[in-house]
């Protein structure tokens, strides 16, 4: 919109009379008019003045209206501006070409200023409605993104859980999710999941998972029972085709016993304080598809200073480079070994740096959850 609240209309016509006529007629109705006699000037003004609508003559010497239109559409700064073509009566083909190129309407010449006014008004209304719809949707997504990040617990909220986190959400509503729970004074649950697909639904589901974890990960239930119950509820509430992979780790800091359950998720990394890192190869069904799922579990007697890393496939897979986790995992073990002296709060970030040589390319969601016994 124009600086002074008025709508700005860019008039592009090689005829000075048509420019003047349109300016006179439109400015009378309170529109701010910017005029261009040719294509290159029109494109410059479209960027500089960000008009709310463009009236574009087709038959112009040099760059014609179609050419101008193509270039406006290719430029992200001008591509969404509504364009109305001015075309001669006999140029039926050009009307079709105009629509193909993305024009919102056309006006035949000789045009009547009152018709121009009516169409300008109509298309400004349409454009306002569309823009507010888009702004509304973007706003909703932002709220979701906010709600989702408030779902994500930070290390400072539960320092006794002694964990570090790296979390990158690719889109406004992410497909990866993690949570850390205080199950009792000495028992902590660590959960990392990856939903199939990225959409708004996914982020609503993450809040459901958060609630399910809280309900089912209690001292009364064994980790396997907790995950099975969560799965049963998910099979009821997930839409068809939607599922998640997850890794759940439960650590009893008193007995130093760590239980790891894997539901179709990339294997967790175990870094013993005085030993070689290894993958915890537990297999298991995906969550949310059917009941009576089966998971492997591994119970490890740990010692103080041992570390575990739960992560999502975005850390080790690359669709672009065609790397599967099974190929990416050995390198990950090396990296986890290298960061064993980095404090647990920082080590997840450090793993990302070493794995990607800096900031990761935004190809998938990434979560790395480091746990120290």
């Amino acid at each position: 919109m124009a600086k002074d609240q008025r709508f700005t209309i860019l008039v592009v016509d090689d005829s000075p009379i048509n420019r003047q006529l349109l300016e006179t007629a439109l400015s009378k109705e309170g529109y701010r008019i910017v005029k261009a006699p040719d294509g290159p000037t029109a494109r410059k003004l479209a960027e500089a003045e960000t008009p709310d609508l463009i009236l574009l003559d087709i038959m112009m010497p040099g760059e014609d209206g179609f050419e101008v239109m193509k270039k406006l559409k290719q430029n992200p700064n001008t591509s969404s501006m509504p364009v109305i073509f001015l075309t001669g009566v006999s140029e039926i083909d050009s009307k079709l070409t105009g629509f193909d190129l993305g024009a919102v309407d056309y006006i035949t010449k000789p045009f009547h200023p009152l018709e121009v006014l009516a169409r300008v008004r109509l298309h400004l209304k349409l454009s306002i409605a569309t823009n507010s719809l888009i702004a509304d949707q973007a706003n909703k997504l932002k709220q979701i993104s906010k709600a989702q990040s408030s779902l994500l617990v930070t290390p400072s909220q539960i320092p006794e859980a002694n964990f570090g986190i790296y979390y990158l959400s690719l889109q406004e509503a992410g497909g990866d999710f993690y949570d850390v729970l205080s199950i009792s004074q000495d028992i902590f649950g660590y959960f990392v999941a990856d939903f199939s697909g990225h959409d708004i639904q996914t982020s609503f589901l993450t809040s459901s998972i958060k609630a399910l974890l809280k309900q089912n990960c209690t001292p009364v239930y064994q980790p396997m029972e907790s995950i099975k119950m969560i799965n049963d509820v998910l099979t009821e509430i997930l839409p068809p085709g939607k599922y998640l992979t997850a890794c759940y780790a439960r650590l009893n800091r008193k007995t130093k016993e760590m239980t790891i359950i894997n539901a179709g998720h990339p294997p967790a990394v175990y870094v013993p304080k005085n030993g070689t890192p290894r993958l915890i190869m537990a297999n298991g069904d995906l969550l949310g598809i059917f009941k009576d799922v089966v998971f492997d579990k591994e119970i490890i007697s740990t010692t103080k200073g041992d570390r575990f890393y739960l992560y999502s496939d975005g850390l080790v897979e690359s669709q672009e480079k065609k790397i599967l986790w099974s190929d990416g995992a050995p390198q990950l073990l090396e990296i986890c070994d290298k960061v064993r002296d980095v404090p647990i709060l920082e080590s997840s970030n450090q793993i990302i740096k070493l794995q990607f040589g800096g900031e990761p390319k935004r190809e998938d969601d990434i979560v790395v959850l480091g746990i120290e016994v």
Binding site: N18, G88, P110, L114
Partner: protein, 104 residues
């Protein structure tokens, strides 16, 4: 004559007069180009010059002027400039009428 044409366009007479001044000015340029086209036998130039005059005159409601320009344009598009001199004379006549009205 201007009052009626202005009303047709939803404009004030003063606003229309400004446009009429502009069309007299630009028509002078178009006439020059048409004369050049006639001299050189350049149908493309004739087509371009008559096209812009046709559109401008038509939009302001100077239909006789627009029609003459249209006839020249149609012929010129078929690579013919036959009768262009007569056409130019008629255009000058129409433009003079507008000038007179402006000064009168």
């Amino acid at each position: 004559m201007f009052k009626e044409l202005a009303e047709n366009l939803g404009l004030d007479e003063d606003e229309f007069r400004e446009l009429a001044v502009l069309i007299v000015d630009t028509a002078a340029g178009d006439i020059e180009r048409l004369e050049e086209a006639a001299q050189k036998g350049d149908a493309t130039l004739a087509s371009e010059a008559s096209h812009s005059l046709k559109g401008a005159a038509g939009n302001l409601g100077f239909m006789e002027l627009s029609d003459i320009a249209r006839q020249i344009e149609e012929k010129a598009r078929k690579k013919s400039i036959e009768g262009i001199s007569e056409g130019i004379a008629l255009i000058k006549e129409q433009v003079n009428l507008i000038s007179k009205e402006l000064n009168g």
